[in-house]
């Protein structure tokens, strides 16, 4: 009976090692659960945090950067209007506009939903327990976070600048808004996937790790 208990505890303590690209990966089931359940929750928290008025500076910064690009590169004489009570979003005003020349920079305009998705996913990526992978995991995470947020921010600013420029030149707002959004969403998603695959593959490997983990447990039972 004691030998049977020893064997049972031994089988339960056996770890499943996944070998990929010359490296070994071992994840705990708890960390994978955190990724699956915690990532959407963290996304929501970040989105609501970015919607708060204390982050009004972010809206101002984005509006000013857009106005800078419009004035310096696209030669559109735009102005940023910032409201002191901070209950209204900052607006970009373009004089002599064929349509309505006033654009409000809202939560979607600063790509808050995209940032929240990126931060939620990157924040919950589990670390492999292999020492070689653990060594630089935090730096890789930080690097991926900085690169992805920077690139998406720049992409978003250029998207809005082009949107205002095309609208100023007569193209209807709804048409150009949807078209530009589709293009930037595809570019942003593919770029994010590429960055994760290059520097933080643990996110994909941890999801795939569920398969050998379950099959190993079934065989052990």
């Amino acid at each position: 009976m004691r030998e049977h208990e020893k064997e049972k505890s031994k089988s339960q303590s056996q770890k499943t090692i996944l070998k990929l690209n010359g490296r070994s990966y071992v994840f705990s089931p708890f960390s994978i659960m955190i990724l699956i359940i915690g990532a959407p929750i963290l996304c929501l928290f970040v989105y609501f945090f970015l919607s708060l008025r204390i982050n009004y500076w972010l809206y101002e910064l984005t509006a000013k950067q857009i106005a800078f690009i419009l004035n310096s590169i696209l030669n559109v004489n735009s102005q940023v209007i910032i409201y002191p009570e901070q209950s209204t979003f900052p607006t970009i005003f373009i004089p002599n506009h064929p349509f309505n020349g006033s654009y409000s920079i809202s939560t979607e305009c600063i790509a808050a939903h995209v940032f929240s998705i990126f931060i939620g996913i990157i924040g919950c990526v589990p670390s492999s327990k292999d020492p070689l992978n653990m060594k630089d995991f935090k730096w890789r995470k930080l690097m991926v976070l900085i690169i992805s947020i920077s690139v998406i921010h720049i992409l978003n600013i250029f998207r809005i600048a082009l949107l205002l420029f095309f609208n100023f030149n007569g193209i209807p707002f709804e048409f150009i808004h949807q078209s530009l959004f589709f293009i930037t969403a595809i570019i942003g998603a593919l770029f994010f996937t590429f960055v994760l695959h290059k520097w933080l593959p643990e996110i994909f490997i941890s999801i795939y790790y569920i398969y050998p983990l379950i099959s190993q447990r079934k065989r052990a039972n």
Binding site: L18, K19, N21, T107, I117, A189, T193
Partner: protein, 254 residues
């Protein structure tokens, strides 16, 4: 040499007839008779394993190449999605113009469901799983009946008892008394149930809903844009994960 003796062909030693091997050199004295080949049985080993005329669908699916497997999988997903979307449009009374949008919206969900069910079916003992699933379904139905029937009886009882007409020839006063007692009991049960269960749950749900809405009044709800980003990311992830599945070595135990 007598009838009960035999000579070894190799060394010439005389052995007892019942002995199989020669006591001197060990050679076999009598070679065993070969079994005659029955009619119709062949010794052609190349046909071993191909004799199954009626291979199951799952075995045939496993022998398909990758492209056909993927095409079949998506074919099933599209077919199931067409049917589910049509059922939803007809049952919920949605306009027919929303069919395509509903089809697109349900595509990812049905892809996951068909994938999970398909993998369980193909890579596991299907019969055992089916039996287990049917058993669980029966247990679930029994539990639902145990919960639903009393609730139905509590709410429908007053109207059932009230409309039940007594065919016995009782005096009208007695009939009226029976009906009044039945109504009172039914109403009392319904009122208690309402007071103890339904109203508190409704109150809690209403307060949660109001607080939830008021907390997020100033938050701008994004449209479908995040879902487009997530969908593209998920599709790209699936390709990457499948590539890992192809190149991964078998997991080891330590």
């Amino acid at each position: 040499m007598t009838v009960e003796e035999k000579r070894c062909k190799k060394c010439g030693q005389i052995n007892i007839k019942s002995v199989i091997y020669c006591v001197n050199c060990g050679a076999i004295l009598d070679k065993p008779e070969l079994f005659p080949i029955e009619q119709g049985i062949t010794n052609d080993v190349s046909k071993i394993g191909q004799g199954k005329k009626n291979a199951s669908l799952i075995d045939r699916y496993k022998q398909l190449n990758l492209g056909l497997k993927v095409a079949l999988y998506f074919g099933i997903v599209v077919l199931v999605n067409l049917v589910v979307s049509l059922i939803l449009v007809l049952s919920l009374g949605l306009p027919i113009e929303s069919y395509f949008l509903l089809f697109l919206g349900l595509f990812i969900l049905i892809m996951i469901i068909v994938g999970v069910i398909g993998n369980i079916t193909v890579f596991s003992d299907f019969t055992a799983h089916l039996a287990k699933a049917i058993g669980q379904l029966i247990v679930a139905i029994i539990i639902i009946l145990i919960i639903v029937v009393p609730i139905y009886a509590v709410f429908a009882l007053p109207s059932i008892i009230g409309s039940f007409s007594v065919t016995m020839s009782l005096p009208p006063a007695v009939e009226a008394a029976i009906e009044a007692i039945n109504d009172a009991i039914g109403n009392a049960i319904a009122n208690i149930f309402n007071a103890l269960v339904i109203k508190p749950i409704e109150g809690i749900g209403r307060s949660i809903g109001e607080n939830f809405e008021s907390a997020f009044e100033s938050v701008e709800v994004p449209g479908f844009e995040p879902f487009l980003l997530i969908t593209i990311f998920v599709i790209a992830s699936i390709f990457i994960i499948y590539r890992y599945h192809l190149i991964a070595r078998k997991p080891l135990n330590i």
